[in-house]
Symmetry: C3
């Protein structure tokens, strides 16, 4: 049991770190000052987990009771800020981090949901919220359209990972195995989707598009 | 008592369905892909209730513990997506759904607030938050100005419905009666306000308007 | 102990009132109608506290259990609406109110965090969230870039105030003393930062700026 806690904790810190990087890089790209970058790193790194904890009632939320999360985010924010010229342009690295974080937080959300006794659909949703929450907050705060809405196979990847995790729960596979399987599956789906530019169908409608949303669509 | 639970539950599912429709239609109008439409349906359908549950401490929130809510939203999202060309243009239908959902969730919020022992002003607020929350999330995510801020008699309608519900609590009227009265009153106020273009007064100010907000005002 | 509760309560109501003013003025500047202004006053006045209460698990949140908060916000909203021509133009007054509210809510957040047994880093974060939450909600709803991201020394001021509060906790200073010290320190930092236009460093990057964010930067 203690082993399981350690695994979950390690994944949680890792996912937080990964997402904090994407937040900090977004902050640098938006020309925020050093503190804005750190705030963004914290918001994106801890946002999804906070949302998950609040929805399942795990309060005070983990990011407040355990200071490691915030410390990790602050350090990441500072590091990205000072090393910005070196790697902000590496867009592929950022996309990779984002995909990895998506996988880690999906597994975490599904696992943590189970601890609070919610059913499989709830667990699935809990996984998607954890995975997608931080990014949605990042996008809303920087006034981008949330990529969960426009990126094909973003929430879908998280959802498929969550389903696999639930299926693996019925096998004798250990926690670490389930976490790794879910994480790498989500990562793989995201990378393949980005590489081959998978597109989900868009509904046909003769209506003029609500162009405010699409105007700045990335 | 069990009868009351059933009534509340039926209204809750109905309101979720109605709001999910408005979310899915907004998604189609914004040219989101199939999953984006489903995510939008879920967010709008469950958002107000989640906000309410989190604020009163009813966690894990209902949308996670009971899978019916999400299943309803997913089905609505898919249905709207595939039937989009047929009815996305029916703007009046959407406005009607939105007004109906507003009424249902006002009654639900006020009733659920009472169960958690908060006073009448808190109950009222709880009703307005439930009713308005999903729509605000929808508007923020699609980068529209929240209609609760610009639509005249939107939150007002919910507020008046909430007051009536609180007054009816002092009578011998049953739960179903209170729910129906509140719902139809809110619906009526909204429809009359839309029909006759009621406007609430706007403050006079010689200052230049913060035009970013008003630029895309619908 | 009862004395302490009274002090905390008084500061809470005062901070709510101050932030409600900034919300209502923003509403008037955005040409919202009377109810929109009141909604904005409530959202900004109570938003930060609600966020804090939800994150630490103090539910139902204070703004729902105690009707004074909402009543104060509604009255402020109405007052600002009717007196708008007189003082909406007084931009300095608004900045002063915002700075004062920032200080009050920082102290409140740190103090309330301690009651729920979270460590010093969590308390600090709780202070910043309380202080900054209402303003972020206001800015997102009115589609401005959250000033916490662009204003230099906004979250920083709150953070420094929080650190001082934590240091003072180790002294024999009473609650009122800690509250006043924290509030006035934050207020002073903000005012000095505004007056002398302090700027925090911005990361150097050769990349084109994400101009959507900066386009409307105030």
């Amino acid at each position: 049991m203690e082993m399981e806690q350690t695994i979950i904790y390690a994944f949680d810190i890792f996912g937080t770190l990964i997402f904090a990087i994407t937040g900090a890089v977004k902050g640098v790209r938006c020309k925020l000052d050093i503190l804005g970058v750190v705030v963004f790193a914290c918001t994106v790194g801890c946002g999804g987990g906070m949302l998950r904890d609040v929805l399942i009632g795990a309060t005070p939320v983990a990011a407040l009771t355990n200071s490691s999360y915030i410390i990790v985010c602050v350090l990441v924010g500072l590091a990205v800020f000072f090393l910005a010229p070196t790697f902000v342009g590496r867009w592929r690295t950022i996309l990779f981090c984002d995909a990895l974080g998506l996988g880690v937080f999906t597994a975490l959300g599904v696992a943590k949901g189970a601890m609070y006794g919610i059913g499989p659909v709830g667990q699935l949703l809990c996984g998607v919220f954890s995975a997608v929450g931080g990014g949605v907050i990042r996008d809303i705060m920087s006034r981008s359209v949330p990529s969960v809405l426009t990126s094909d196979f973003y929430a879908t990847a998280s959802l498929i990972g969550g389903v696999i995790y639930l299926l693996l729960e019925r096998t004798s596979l250990g926690l670490l195995g389930k976490f790794l399987a879910c994480t790498f599956l989500v990562l793989a789906i995201r990378l393949i989707a980005i590489k081959f530019k998978f597109h989900l169908p868009v509904a046909e409608t003769a209506l003029p598009v609500d162009d405010y949303l699409t105007m700045h669509r990335p």
